[in-house]
Amino acid sequence: MASASAAVLKTEARLMTREPGVLFWIIAFPTLLMVILGLIPGFDDADPDLGGRRVIDLYVPVAALLAVIMAGLQAMPPILIGYRERGILRRMSTTPVRPATLLTSQIILLGGGAFASAALVIAVGRIAFGVELPGNVVGYLLALVLATAGALAMGGLVCAIAPTQRAGQAIGSALFFPSMFTAGVWLPVQTMPDLLRDIVGYSPMGASSEALDAAMRGGWPHWVDLAVMALWAALLTAGAARWFRWE
């Protein structure tokens, strides 16, 4: 049923282009936020406390993570819970195509959207503010894949446990703000006090932030950070799969 899956993916992609809100928050907003922060006086200056790096240098990975969080916690729950609530998944169960195809398509599209947004952030950061490209591209990609997996799995878990779209939005928001905080949106993780930084490092987005920062600077992400991310992604995925209801 490869052609059927392709048809579902194509249709869902087309539908996503009709959701300017979703596209704005995932694709445009992270870059916009980074540009605004970059225009704040002083954020563009080398800071001896940051080892000679600028605040804007720290915000490029943060903005990339923001795209991942938007895709997983803001965009995914209303879409998938709506599909369940409105009987779209059930309707599909009566055809030869499994409704899981619809979920897979959304994961591919939202993950793809988050990656495109991260690429846009890096490109604009480079062009507008002269932020260095990731020093370790493979490490950066690996960290981004794990971060995306974690955020989408978290969104999947919200879809699984929220009975209604409204509840999904509430639970999603309750996770959205802590995720943004641990990703370093208010205060980059690398500038947090040591104790806070250690604690945040065990959250999915905190570990992602550390891993992306390490890869930005040209090194390999610390294996502990990668392990924390992988573990979170595995746990959240297992929970989402365990509790997801098709109707």
Binding site: M1, S3, A4, A6, A7, V8, T11, R14, L15, R18, E19, Y83, R86, G87, I88, R90, R91, S93, T94, T95, P96, V97
Partner: protein, 320 residues
């Protein structure tokens, strides 16, 4: 051979039986109705036929296949329209038809199908912008797009205005005439009477009766309705003592008696004996509605929600 066979079907939710031993079989080429009050187990029954639910006990076969075990094969020969299901709000009619065509190995050409269902003007309209009748026509199209041998239509006309409902009935007859078997779930008596070749009346999870619409009416204990306005009041006891009277009630001064031909004669005799004139005397054949109330034996509250409210309200208010 029957295209759908249901034997001893049971399904409970949280220990409460929704379907409690249902048997019926649907012959190829007929419109088979499942009629019953809300919560009688109609939808659960057809969901087991569609393979959406796993029965607790009993067997379901669609063209000899198990809807759960052979789900993929069954989906290819059974098209379904579900109660209260929607499509993606911003999906257009054309996109929906194209998408669902891609799901089936041998889909029918969706263009003539859309034409037949009067959707060709609406191909670029998004699902959310369609009227109730248009949405239902689209769902009929989607249920037929895989070229099925059976379609299951669950509460298809609920929420439609009378014109759209009648248009939909014509479509269902056309589907049957094209050789597709129709399993129709409804709580509209008029719809069942007009469309169905045979009807299973389901009440409290069991088949209360299974017959043709006229057979159901004939077997009901109250196949004749007598109503009149007496010139003088008649004694309740004498009315209640009428032979074969299934129910006696009053409606705004009018006496309404459900019974048989024997009751009619007795009423005339009674009137003559008391020298009472019967104004606007009407003797009518009972409708499926009357037969249904007789078969399901629920109190008025339940039947009022089950049938068309105005028709249920037109029934005698007291049952003796």
């Amino acid at each position: 051979m029957a295209i759908i066979e249901v034997r001893g079907l049971r399904k409970a939710y949280g220990g409460k039986p929704a379907v409690d031993g249902v048997d019926f079989s649907v012959e190829e080429g007929e419109i088979f109705g499942i009629l019953g009050p809300n919560g009688a187990g109609k939808t659960t029954t057809v969901e087991c036929v569609e393979g959406l639910r796993i029965p607790d006990a009993g067997t379901v076969r669609v063209a000899g296949l198990d809807p759960v075990g052979d789900h993929l094969e069954v989906t290819q020969l059974l098209g379904a329209q579900l109660q209260e299901s929607e499509l993606q709000a911003k999906l257009t009619v054309r996109e929906a038809l194209e998408l669902y065509s891609a799901f089936y190995p041998k889909p029918v050409d969706w263009r003539p199908l859309a034409g037949r269902l009067g959707l060709e003007e609406k191909l670029s309209t998004r699902f959310a912008k369609l009227s109730g009748g248009q949405k239902q026509r689209l769902f009929i199209a989607l249920s037929l797009i895989g070229g099925p041998r059976v379609v299951v239509l669950d509460e298809l006309t609920t929420g439609l205005d009378p014109r759209a409902r009648r248009d939909t009935w014509r479509l269902i007859e056309e589907i049957r005439d094209s050789g597709v078997t129709v399993l129709l779930v409804t709580h509209f008596m008029e719809e069942a009477q007009r469309l169905c070749d045979r009807i299973a009346v389901i009440d409290r999870g069991k088949v209360a009766a299974l017959d043709t619409p006229s057979g159901l009416i004939a077997r009901s204990t109250a196949s004749t309705v007598i109503s009149f306005t007496p010139s003088e009041p008649l004694g309740d006891e004498e009315l209640a003592a009428l032979p074969k009277a299934a129910s006696v009630g009053t409606q705004g001064g009018r006496i309404v008696i459900n019974g048989t031909d024997e009751t009619v004669n007795a009423v005339i005799t009674l009137l003559a004996r008391h020298r009472v004139t019967a104004h606007q005397l009407r003797v009518t054949e009972a409708t499926l509605d009357d037969a249904f109330l007789d078969l399901t034996e629920n109190d008025i509250d339940t039947t009022a929600t089950a049938g068309q409210p105005d028709e249920a309200a037109a029934q005698p208010e007291e049952r003796v």
